[in-house]
């Protein structure tokens, strides 16, 4: 796949702009209506595919060319993932849209559902056609009720217009899509826990292998992709993989929504062309608030490592650019922290989140996240010793990589990166028993 990309594209790294693909309708009136989506050419791609009975393999190749990578955090190439679904499986197959964004600082999928649900539906229709799935679910985060209701409305609109259900566009292709309102557990964003939850069970990750592509919902082949991933598909089919790729940089095709929050003047969702310099994105978000200095950034959400200001300042925002500075794109939940931020309190809050959200299934995460949170709390209360920093690092390392799912790794990441970059601040806090900054 990389070969194709390398041969066909000569990518410009400079001059990256905001560019709306997933949030195309955001600025239009009645942004979430079928009418609005149709006015920008909505549902034409699935119509084209179904009328011409396009070859699924060709479509997968197009997605491979686009360089689209899973937008939920893992960044796995979508085209490859879709080709894992068994082609000639005799029986029902499922596709699932994972809109269970539950990490602190994530709010991009909510905007897609709120403003552009039909592009998501069309993306899923195309996915269903390619993977020959008959039923789809959109698993919507438990804490966003309004979006769940509006998505139900969008599905109903699409159903009435003959875009979902039986014999779509008279092609004989059937696809039924259901909205599924989650119950507000972070772990249900993990794809196998999400599958368990759809089955009506307690949301706990399954041991892999088998992967969902062979053993998913009710044991049937299942594909799970992020909302943003699905919502990117219609544009890629419309404009071609190369055009999408051209919006990004090598290994990071297309655009990506960054949910910028924290100490900026204009927090919000910014769909950027990947490869944009960090400084430019920060500027788009109005810069650091109150004229203060930048201290650190968590680029992709709490499960990605924190990066101090002087390191991220020269970085570009794309998969390789962030990997180079020891972090990652994650789900694009960028948390900006100004010079007044106490890193101990910040880490305390983050580790509380993982402690609270650990599903409790496997030992290192169940016992370790609570332990980590308690050590940090002890530091915060001025009752720790310097040895506790090593203990903290050691415990986190022993959670990481030893659990069933990635939550253990996610819980360890902030601890390890905060201590790596801001050890001095932790030491001062321990010695003085109070914050370095106010």
């Amino acid at each position: 796949m990389n070969e194709i990309v390398d041969k066909n594209l000569n990518l410009e790294i400079t001059n990256k702009q905001l560019f709306n693909i997933c949030l195309r309708t955001k600025h239009l009136k009645n942004s979430n209506s079928l009418e609005t989506y149709k006015s920008i050419g909505g549902y034409e791609q699935i119509k084209k595919i179904l009328k011409n009975k396009l070859d699924p393999q060709q479509l997968i190749d197009e997605i491979k060319i686009s360089g689209l990578r899973g937008r939920g955090g893992a960044g796995f190439p979508t085209g490859i993932k879709w080709s894992f679904m068994p082609r000639d499986y005799d029986g029902i197959k499922y596709i699932v849209c994972n809109s269970d964004e539950g990490e602190p600082g994530t709010f991009k999928d909510r905007d897609i559902i709120r403003h552009n649900p039909h592009q998501l539906i069309e993306g899923m229709l195309i996915g269903a056609y390619i993977m020959n799935a008959q039923v789809g679910y959109n698993y919507i985060h438990g804490e966003i009720w309004e979006e769940y209701v509006s998505f139900e409305k969008a599905i109903e609109e699409a159903r009435k217009a003959g875009l979902l259900g039986k014999n779509i566009f008279g092609s004989g292709f059937n696809f039924e899509l259901h909205a599924f309102h989650g119950y507000g557990a972070y772990i249900c964003g993990e794809e196998t826990a999400l599958i368990e939850s759809i089955e009506g069970k307690k949301g706990q990750p399954r041991y892999k292998p088998p992967f969902p592509a062979t053993y998913g919902i009710y044991g049937k082949p299942t594909n799970v992709n992020n909302t943003e991933t699905y919502a990117s598909i219609p544009w890629i089919i419309e404009n071609g993989g190369q055009a999408f790729m051209a919006h990004g940089v090598k290994n990071s095709g297309g655009t990506k929504i960054f949910s910028v929050s924290g100490h900026v003047e204009k927090p919000g969702n910014y769909e950027i062309e990947l490869g944009m310099p960090f400084e430019q994105l920060l500027k788009e978000a109005g810069g650091v608030w109150k004229g203060r200095k930048l201290k650190a950034v968590i680029p992709g959400g709490p499960s990605t490592p924190v990066v101090p200001a002087d390191i991220i300042r020269n970085a570009t925002i794309d998969y390789d650019g962030l990997a180079k500075i020891g972090s990652s794109v994650g789900a694009g939940s960028m948390i900006v922290m100004d010079e007044t931020t106490c890193m101990v309190s910040a880490l305390k809050r983050l580790s509380y989140f993982f402690y609270e959200e650990s599903c409790g299934q496997c030992t290192p995460c169940r016992e370790g996240t609570g332990w980590v949170y308690r050590i940090i709390s002890r530091i915060y209360q001025g009752q720790a010793t310097l040895d506790d920093l090593d203990l903290l690092t050691d415990v986190s390392k022993k959670i990481s990589g030893r659990t069933i799912c990635a939550l253990g790794d996610a819980a360890a990441t902030p601890v390890l990166s905060f201590i790596k970059h801001f050890r001095d601040e932790f030491e001062v806090f321990i010695k003085n028993g109070k914050k370095l900054v106010n």
Binding site: S358, R366, L391
Partner: protein
């Protein structure tokens, strides 16, 4: 076969086996808590993480299948680091109070911590507190000790057939719980005590009564069902303290029923007959054994009495050992009597030599099972467990019965209709087999006709083959066997049902209601144990001299002129012929309590007093050696064609917690009954 290396040693292994299985088969130790060979793999405790070459992360040995060329390290630095860290994590919230924990000394966590843990914990915060739950009279909880391995949850769901326990709450707040205000009701629930790797689930009756190292282990055989589960009784100071399973893949695997596990509690019940008793007016008075035997001599010695044929009548239970039954039979022959009801719970069997006709473990080799009649869940819960396992592997299990029992099995077909309609039903199946339609099955008959093949096992419950209606449809079953080569087996319920039918093959298991000179009732309480208890009452009234030999007083003792205390199963020795015609010997676990004596000894001395010939046995095994055993297997139903007109149908609902004398005297098992009756 593929090649792998464990710790540098090359071995050949079967494909699709997991690392832990390979290690277990080659004597390489990998510590584990959640993994259990009979349960699904959860991979949640992470204790079995091992280093595998070319994998960046350690892999759980329980969930990782071996691949060709794989190199596994169970003692490397990384593996040891994983083991030590998981051990540390497990112990941070575990109360380290082994000296006051009932599991102390036989605890997987304790042992593993000694072998793989670090001597010192770095955890200094407070430990989690979890409130205990009331799971009923059998299992006691100490949930502070729970390490969330979920073995108990998986056991009840997968082996017990119903998810009665679950892990509720998230993260550190995850805890084991039953449904709100529910206790655990599975008839094999006690196995969670053995499964629990820590002291979170322990035996409620046994709790705090002995330490594991204080008890002597004695092997015995279950007297409560025809499977004959292998048991291990733990004895301290002459008392059975608890009963555990002995592993036996052929029979009980590593499980036992709650009845097997807790019946020992009946041994010291207050209703035990302590000495021989003689009737004095409305009550009974103690006498010595010698006086008792002299009385028997006076009443039963043929020289002192004028006996005609069939003047003495015998009642025994289906738990009577081969040896005891042999002596009863000899005695009956001596009195020239055919009046023996050797299996009080049932009427006459209309099939000769009812037994499973195959081995218990071979049941699982069949592709489909049809259960005809039977109260399997209450009679043979561990055979039912095998059917459950088969169903979960996608095999077809169907039921044809006249009562709808909830078997907690995923059934292919369930047909519930009056037994009088069975004939028509089987006729239709036979017809459908002969027409062999390619169409999709619409009726149960059509579906069953397609299921039945030479890989089908028809299991016939004892309440069906001892039902007079059976003779009407049994020939059709034989026709189906002719057509399809289907195999069949019977499900006699009692510990020695098979043996008794073999010993008494010339007897009908019915007695006439007429005048008798004497009666002998052995190890039975007519209020519970008879299919037709009125019949026993009438015989008692018409008989001049009635003897009861039993460990316990019955509900109603007014008819018995003489009551002799016999030993309970644990104080007895002998042998049972189990459902697959396997002769299983057992020896005395503890000495008989009070003045009670093993039944074979009582019968032997009785025989001596009344000068029964050939009664000079000194040991039980001398009797065993006298009994010729033959394993009978049949391709077709071997029917008893003689009409047994006088037999009245008395359907007796089996209750697993009331099945026999000892079970009925076990406090814990009776508490379950009371709990259910209150609901």
């Amino acid at each position: 076969m593929i090649k792998v290396k464990i710790n540098g040693k090359a071995i050949k292994v079967q494909e699709k086996t997991t690392i832990i299985e390979v290690a277990d088969n080659h004597g390489i130790e990998i510590p584990r808590f959640c993994y259990h060979k009979k349960l699904s793999v959860a991979a949640n405790c992470r204790m079995c993480l091992v280093e595998v070459k070319n994998f960046p992360k350690p892999l759980p040995a329980c969930a990782t299948q071996v691949a060709d060329g794989m190199e596994i390290f169970t003692k490397s630095k990384q593996t040891k680091d994983c083991q030590q860290s998981v051990m540390e994590f497990l112990l941070i919230n575990h109360p380290l109070d082994c000296p006051i924990c009932d599991q102390g000394g036989e605890c997987d966590l304790q042992d593993t911590a000694m072998a793989y843990g670090s001597p010192k914990s770095r955890y200094q915060e407070e430990k989690r507190v979890v409130l205990n739950k009331n799971l009923g009279p059998l299992v006691s909880t100490d949930l502070n000790r729970c390490i969330q391995c979920s073995r108990c949850v998986r056991f009840l769901k997968e082996v017990g057939g119903m998810q009665e326990l679950g892990l509720i709450g998230r993260g550190e707040h995850a805890e084991i719980s039953a449904y709100v205000k529910k206790s655990v009701e599975s008839e094999i629930s006690g196995n969670v005590i053995d499964l629990c790797p820590v002291g979170a689930l322990t035996s409620k009756p046994f709790r705090y009564s002995a330490r594991t190292w204080e008890m002597i282990r004695k092997s015995t055989i279950s007297p409560h069902d025809s499977l004959g589960s292998h048991l291990e009784a733990h004895v301290k100071d002459g008392n059975v303290m608890r009963v555990l399973p002995r592993e036996n893949e052929d029979l009980n695997e590593c499980w036992i029923s709650d009845r097997d596990r807790f019946s020992y509690m009946g041994i010291n019940h207050q209703n035990r007959v302590k000495t021989p008793l003689i009737k004095k007016g409305a009550t009974h008075e103690p006498i010595s054994w010698e006086v008792a035997f002299q009385l028997i001599e006076k009443q039963l010695h043929p020289k002192q009495n004028q006996f005609k044929a069939d003047d003495v009548v015998f009642f025994t239970s289906n738990q009577t050992t081969m040896e005891e039954a042999f002596l009863v039979k000899k005695m009956a022959e001596y009195f020239n009597s055919h009046q023996i009801k050797f299996d009080a719970a049932n009427g006459p069997a209309y099939i000769k030599h009812p037994s499973l006709n195959t081995q218990v473990k071979k049941i699982e080799e069949f592709e489909s099972i049809i259960l005809l009649g039977s109260q399997l869940r209450n009679q043979n819960p561990l055979i039912l467990q095998r059917l459950r396992k088969m169903a979960s592997h996608g095999k077809s299990i169907s039921v044809i019965n006249h009562i709808d029992f909830n078997l907690q099995v995923n059934l292919d077909q369930k047909v519930i209709k009056p037994i009088t309609d069975f004939k028509k039903f089987f006729q239709q199946i036979l017809k459908d087999i002969k027409t062999d339609s390619k169409k999709i099955s619409k009726t149960a008959e059509q579906r069953l006709s397609k299921i039945i093949s030479n890989k089908t096992l028809l299991l016939i419950g004892e309440d069906v083959y001892s039902h007079p209606e059976f003779l009407k449809f049994a020939p059709i079953i034989n026709d189906i066997i002719d057509e399809t080569a289907m195999q069949f087996g019977c499900l006699p319920a009692g510990a020695n049902s098979v043996g008794l039918h073999q010993l008494f093959s010339h007897y009908k298991n019915t007695v006439e209601i007429k005048n008798y000179q004497a009666s002998l009732t052995v190890n039975l309480d007519p209020a519970f144990d008879f299919a037709d208890s009125q019949m026993h009452e009438m015989v008692m009234q018409k008989s001049k001299f009635n003897i009861l030999i039993s460990p316990f007083l019955n509900q109603n003792n007014k008819h018995y002129d003489l009551i002799l205390p016999s030993a309970t199963h644990f104080e007895n020795e002998g042998s049972f012929l189990n459902i697959e015609s396997r002769l299983q010997n057992f020896t005395q676990t503890i000495a008989p309590k009070f003045e009670s004596k093993p039944l074979w000894k009582i019968l032997r001395v009785m025989g001596n007093y009344i000068e029964c010939p050939d009664f000079e046995f000194e040991t039980c095994s001398q009797i065993t050696n006298k009994i010729a055993n033959k394993i009978h297997t049949f391709k077709k139903l071997n029917l008893v064609n003689e009409e047994l007109n006088h037999h009245k149908v008395n359907y007796r609902l089996a209750n697993i917690n009331q099945s026999d004398l000892l079970v009925r005297k076990s406090k814990a098992l009776q508490d379950i009954l009371h709990l259910r009756n209150e609901k």
